[in-house]
Subunit: 168 residues, 6 copies
Amino acid sequence: MTTSKTTAPADGLTHFDATGQAHMVDVGDKQETHRIAVASGQIRMKPETLAIILAGSAKKGDVLGIARIAAIMGAKRTSDLVPLCHPLALTRVAVDFETNEATSTVHCRAQVETFGKTGVEMEALTAVQIGLLTVYDMCKAVDRGMVMGEIRVMEKHGGKSGDWSVTS
Amino acid sequence: MTTSKTTAPADGLTHFDATGQAHMVDVGDKQETHRIAVASGQIRMKPETLAIILAGSAKKGDVLGIARIAAIMGAKRTSDLVPLCHPLALTRVAVDFETNEATSTVHCRAQVETFGKTGVEMEALTAVQIGLLTVYDMCKAVDRGMVMGEIRVMEKHGGKSGDWSVTS
Amino acid sequence: MTTSKTTAPADGLTHFDATGQAHMVDVGDKQETHRIAVASGQIRMKPETLAIILAGSAKKGDVLGIARIAAIMGAKRTSDLVPLCHPLALTRVAVDFETNEATSTVHCRAQVETFGKTGVEMEALTAVQIGLLTVYDMCKAVDRGMVMGEIRVMEKHGGKSGDWSVTS
Amino acid sequence: MTTSKTTAPADGLTHFDATGQAHMVDVGDKQETHRIAVASGQIRMKPETLAIILAGSAKKGDVLGIARIAAIMGAKRTSDLVPLCHPLALTRVAVDFETNEATSTVHCRAQVETFGKTGVEMEALTAVQIGLLTVYDMCKAVDRGMVMGEIRVMEKHGGKSGDWSVTS
Amino acid sequence: MTTSKTTAPADGLTHFDATGQAHMVDVGDKQETHRIAVASGQIRMKPETLAIILAGSAKKGDVLGIARIAAIMGAKRTSDLVPLCHPLALTRVAVDFETNEATSTVHCRAQVETFGKTGVEMEALTAVQIGLLTVYDMCKAVDRGMVMGEIRVMEKHGGKSGDWSVTS
Amino acid sequence: MTTSKTTAPADGLTHFDATGQAHMVDVGDKQETHRIAVASGQIRMKPETLAIILAGSAKKGDVLGIARIAAIMGAKRTSDLVPLCHPLALTRVAVDFETNEATSTVHCRAQVETFGKTGVEMEALTAVQIGLLTVYDMCKAVDRGMVMGEIRVMEKHGGKSGDWSVTS
């Protein structure tokens, strides 16, 4: 075969080969281990918008219930959206929303798991992004100025690099 | 026909009908106008990560070039991802990245346009989200703690509600 | 141009040309009119399964709310799924569920609208199918023997053939 | 990690956690076994419509051949369509159609197999649904009143719950 | 608005702006006209492989019928696959195959039409590519060395640039 | 179970069963081995078009960088596009472009790998096709007459049939 094995580039960005070309990195030799990633983020809104969401969750017009479904479905589309992500058979996706009236924010937290050769941080982040986007979409008729932020990986487990969690 | 026309719910969330059920809202009677939306957001990282991105943009390993493509393609997938979004024939998508070494951030700005019955704020936000996700993916091997934020609509034009821009 | 215009085949199946080859039929000369289609269907289950659904709709575990979202998203994927369907910019999708304890069934009804050159019967039927599939998926842990049926177009409006409704 | 393991809810609907929130259920600890599911369904039409289909299958205008392809491709899209379905690497999809002139129906039967942690009932049902939808689409120009029904799982094999088949 | 209008770059590649960044070019001001594109291509194989295809088309095992469906469906996915393509509501897709025993080739020809602001050359080319890929897939068990080639646009009509056809 | 095992048809086309019906062939009993496929192809253009590409690759307007991303993403969509392809969890995708000024061509070469039950020839070919399509799209404003060709599998490794490479 004429293509030599992937060589990690000098600067540590594994999505590029030694000549600087993007590729979907070779994970064929990595171990299949149980992998978990947790990501989170938030959306900040007017207090009256949050009040409408809270009213809806209690009875009808369930903004967060719909955002949860969108987030779960979004996690499954990650490798379609992020160019160099490997397709993965996810074994679990759980998405939680919490509301904070003091800061007038909705917090989203996604936990994704698989048993495979690569981690699921991107899937967890995608779930959070699509979940927050859907909250925005559902509420934009009353509040165009909502801001999404603090979207990050919180912890990961499994794989060669082992456990990691944000230090805050 | 037995289904009565959509009635806006009391709380202003147009994605729910008068009985609180989610629907893709009727836009059949809306005008086809030129619609523009601009969204933006950022990703904060370690200075050394930003340095690698800046080096790559100048020659090989073009993180931001790849993120731009992902953002443009993401805008086209919006109605697949956000449950109640209408499918739209976009007429323009432009995505810019700017880097700020003082704050160690990459800023993404997406402008989306169409000539149609609904606005393109969600498409612009999706472009920004997928663009930032791709930057995260490309750099996560060297910096897992990157944080995405300040993701919001900056301005919109066209449609019944006319022009709007963030006041900051 | 060497390809002659589509000629309707002798047997009336417009998805085949005069030589019997499948094609996506030419609708370029059709009028853009307001088009509406309503489809419906049902899923039959054990009374105790329906009781669980009814309990969930009232508070948590909202089977029908999730099925409604899946149905709406499914309508948007119709032209990806049905080979010779034209892609269409839907202007409205509304999905209702009704439960009937006497017959132990959940009924699904979808109304889809567009302003375009072809009808939206397939989109309405796809919404019903995916809505019922999702009810099945959510309840299969307690009732594998559920049966879906009576899935049909109920009425359509707009286009050259005008109004039509099922006579029953 | 802060998220506790999935606890089966009291009512047996495993797609909801103990607090009633939807999730893609954790299958990480399930065995990878050979799993098979068979689903079936039918579409009822006017005798003259069935006659056209039967004529086409014999020579040109092959309605059932196209519906078979759509059904197979539909099975592969299941986890994109049904919100809480796990993505699965299918190892076999076979779809058969039979026609019954006495009842003026076309019967569709799909058998799907995988070697994995969850069953393939949803994939088999999706194949049947999309197969029947495509028959409807191909014939609707001559028969709008066709009705789809008797769509159900016929048998399943593999997994913790072992073999199951419909008792009728 | 802060983003200046797209300026054509000096080298004529309209998919890049004046600063060399890729974008989905602004077509908002272009006329909606009837647009047609025809593309073609071929796949070369062993004579005995072509003999099998020819036998199948006559009765069972219809390679070209399946490839035609894949080609039509592929045309609808063009804007998902080609990064800077605009999504378009196609109004017609027709795909023909011809076989040539003298050269042991199968020729594929796709005609795509829309009424819109951009042309459909990419959709016609995608249809041809996916059609030929499917022929390869169906026959690869007996002939791995098949070669696809001569894939090109043959003619286009409509739009500002008017009619064009290959001169050969 | 009522469906008998797949029997290879007399003519060797494994995508059809013994009765000539298309199916996604059963690979459940095949070994999971490391599988590699390499495909290649080219696009021929005017020398001045190639000159623009070469200028862009050196600094801005990176046609080949964008085509590489499209090719990698295309490889991941193969089972959505080719009707009877099995979905596969790819472990590596690498795409290289080479330019030849003497023949005024751009050559694309894709190497795809997985650890699974079926080969990845189709994924490698799809990557090449989408890569070349994207080059066409990026350059069509200056050169409509470009021709794609010589698209073929170059070598494969792994699986029951073992190693194979083109003899030329």
